[in-house]
Amino acid sequence: MNAYLGHWPFRRLRHNDADGLLGLMDRAGIDKACVASASAIFYKNSHAGNEELADQVAGHEDRLIPFAVLNPAYVDWAHDLDVCVDQFGARGLRLYPHYHNYTLSDSCCSELIAAATERDLVVSLPIRQIDQRQRHWLLEIPDVPLSDLEALVERHPDAKFVFVNGLGFPGSRLGQPDSGLPANYALGISRMRATMTDEVGTLVKNIGADRVVLGTGMPFKYPEAALLKVEVLDASEETKQAILGGNAERLLTSANDC
């Protein structure tokens, strides 16, 4: 639920075109990936990144599932959303409020999420894109606070959210049982621990195995690191299979397909 194609301005990525990513997936034993444009995070007109992504995904639709990076504070996003869904086959969005200079409570963001919900898209949101300690000297982008996400899921109870590149969820309402929050979100494991403090195992217990999903962050990150968390997780094979793919398949199955 957390893969990318394209470029990152501050570090050379490898395996960042379709052939490269598919090779990386083959090596790691990953069948399918939800991919978004890394370049679109920095393009003012992020839709140009979606167009690049569509070119890359073409011919690989059986394995690469496009997610659109849209900036609701940038003009013409509604048109871009239509193109991404109707022409490019996007099954989800990826939002970057801090990179794109809006807040999750802005009306434009609410409008975009409502439009995505209307189309039964997954709305994914990376808490961060890179480790803060290795940021470029030109740029400081803070993590998205988990408290903002708590409010977000309450504002949009019918949306389907996936939060990736985050950790510390058991310390927030998002990772606690009986939190009163709608069960309209899943959590990606890429930064979580699966041993010692074992955040992954804690979340499985607290919010259910059906709401924890594999996210690798490839090709920014070695996908094997995320897969290893599932491998060593103290959980049933059924739970592991759900995290590895079953939950993602369910989220990506459009109600319109049923």
Binding site: R133, Q134, R135, W137, T195, M196, A225, L228, K229, V232
Partner: protein, 255 residues
């Protein structure tokens, strides 16, 4: 043999659940196929002799409890020149495998030189906390970057100096490039950062024989990045333990 070259035991404050936490480290090692963990026990600041000797005593205790699993680093504050030297001699004699430094001084400051010379004499490595970020790290004004480490390494080519956590010290490309010019320095691969390409660049720039597998408590990240790296099985074996075994053998030769 898989050796985690950078791990920590829990400070045994009365309110801490240190036994459970240390046991969970062993459990994680079991699940990840890690045979041995080279551990220090960092004391609370200020790192005065009373505190760092206490932490080392607890490391010794754990070495005795888990004799096949835990190797001990002796943590000292090198500013206490005489006390640090006495402590290192005593602990190496007790079977500790090296010295751990944190961020009390930059590695190239002269206050470290007596300790470096002692470690050469004893045939043990120094593992130092390290990092380089492109902003001022306010809480760690004397954290060594790889440039500081390279300077110490080139002053003492016989010293086995290990730059801590390439995956937990900010700009890893900087750290790796800085160590290119210090051919006797090692680096450990630990840290929570699992950026694709990190290990491959380190192998290409530094050479595989200078890289040591480690987790620094980020257990799956530590193992996962070595598993995922596009290197040969022989290189993976060297990183996972072969290189550290070579370092450990030096202590036996010195004694």
């Amino acid at each position: 043999m898989v050796i985690d070259a950078h791990a920590h035991l829990t400070w045994r404050s009365p309110q801490s659940d240190w036994e459970e936490r240390d046991r969970s480290l062993i459990d994680a090692a079991d699940r990840l196929g890690i045979d041995q963990l080279a551990c220090s026990n960092l004391c609370p600041r200020p790192a005065v002799p009373e505190n760092f000797t206490q932490g080392n005593e607890w490391v010794l205790d754990s070495m005795r409890e888990y004799p096949d699993r835990i190797l001990g680093y002796c943590f000292v504050n090198p500013g206490w020149i005489r006390e640090a030297a006495e402590e290192v001699r005593k602990r190496v004699d007790q079977g500790f495998i090296g010295v751990k430094l944190y961020n009390e001084y930059f590695c190239n400051e002269p206050v470290l030189f007596p300790l470096a010379e002692l470690c050469i004499e004893l045939g043990v490595p120094i593992l130092t906390h390290a990092g380089h970020s492109h902003y001022y790290v306010e809480r760690q004004p004397r954290m060594s970057g790889a440039t500081h480490i390279a300077e110490l390494a080139n002053r003492y080519p016989e010293l086995m100096i290990i730059c801590g956590h390439l995956g937990g010290g900010g700009d890893w490309e900087w750290q790796i490039k800085a160590l290119r010019s210090a051919p006797t320095a090692y680096a450990d691969t630990s840290g929570s950062v699992v950026d694709e390409g990190l290990i491959e660049m380190a192998v290409e720039v530094m050479g595989v024989e200078r890289l040591l597998f480690a987790c620094d408590m980020s257990m799956t990240a530590g193992v996962g990045k070595i598993r995922g790296a596009q290197i040969s099985d022989e290189q993976r074996e060297m990183i996972f333990g072969g290189n550290m075994q070579r370092i450990l053998a030096q202590r036996g030769e010195a004694q």
